[in-house]
Symmetry: C2
């Protein structure tokens, strides 16, 4: 599983999930998460179906946040779980695909490791995207998680074109961004810039 630049869609800025996904797919992003906290399941289904169509067109991986049933319904490649979602050890029994989980410490990462396919670790830096975000773990905290697990680690939280190289140097296999792209004046250009840096560290 290759992750690289991992774009998480958001409807909290001025564009739709579909517009953002299409912009990043066009410039080469191949790992996308659908994350939405305000729509009804019926609405989410409709958006996720569109994202599935787009990601298939570009042979990209589609991950659905939280809702395993939605992931099953649209045949997503994976689900991403938070610590408050369905337990990952249970999800592995009902979902036959990629399972990722958010972690904030070495302890959480180690607990999740044997059940899941990738670990997201963060927030690395302070971020405004997530309300009630936890204290940043910093590059040091990220490095500790990377060195204590064997599964691929994805860094998340406050990552942008100015700090992404520092993040990549910790040994992560993926870098997740939301606002650096979704809140950019030109999402396509921002994705392209970030992708160029990521590819210098994580090329196949």
């Amino acid at each position: 599983m290759k992750i690289g630049l991992y774009f998480i869609t958001s409807s909290e800025f001025s564009r739709t999930h579909e517009e953002l996904a299409e912009a990043v797919l066009r410039v080469g992003v191949r790992f996308i998460q659908f994350r939405e906290k305000n729509m009804s399941a019926r609405q989410m289904f409709s958006v996720a179906k569109n994202l599935r169509k787009l990601t298939w067109e570009y042979s990209a991986t589609l991950i659905v946040n939280d809702r395993v049933d939605l992931a099953l319904a649209v045949e997503a490649d994976g689900v991403h779980l938070g610590q408050d979602d369905l337990p990952f050890e249970v999800v592995k029994d009902i979902f036959d695909g990629i399972v990722g989980v958010s972690t904030h410490s070495v302890d959480e990462a180690k607990k999740a490791e044997r059940y899941i396919d990738y670990i997201s670790a963060g927030p690395v830096f302070r971020t405004t995207t997530k309300k009630n975000a936890k204290e940043p773990i910093g590059l040091e905290g990220l490095r500790r998680i990377v060195s204590s697990v064997k599964k691929p680690v994805v860094a998340i939280g406050g990552i942008n074109k100015f700090n992404i190289e520092d993040v990549l140097k910790t040994g992560v296999k993926g870098v997740a961004v939301i606002s650096a792209i979704a809140n950019s004046q030109n999402p396509e250009k921002s994705a392209k810039e970030l992708l160029e840096i990521v590819k210098r560290y994580l090329d196949d």
Copy 2:
């Protein structure tokens, strides 16, 4: 599938889901829905697991509201979907069990009928349990739905021991209650009273 008295658990009153479920199971209710709008998925999983254990003990049917993934995770017998949840035609593909759907009109009931196993119709009367509840359909509206579909109809909304006979006379196969039991001083006694009336109309 026998429905009869269909109890929907609620944590909005002074008892837990588990306490309520155990009370109604003890007196003979055999169709229970877990409905919860405020807990995290992780918390819901923990409660639903307890309800699954209880309902298995009593050979009762367990239905999970909204979340098909939660139903899969705890091996519930069925899911209940609202008009804003995942589309029932899709759910039938990912969930191999009972699928019920909330309807408010003959039109909604007929659209759902061929995909699902039972139709809930309501609110029959005015109710305080559900915020933003729709206009009541009344006994007349209920009768119209019952006579226009072949699948079993479950009446819901404001049903109590004083009006339940009128509801049963419309030809429904089930009667769903929340507050008539959950908000009772003695849930067990209230469930028993309702069950006795239901059994006069819907005995096997």
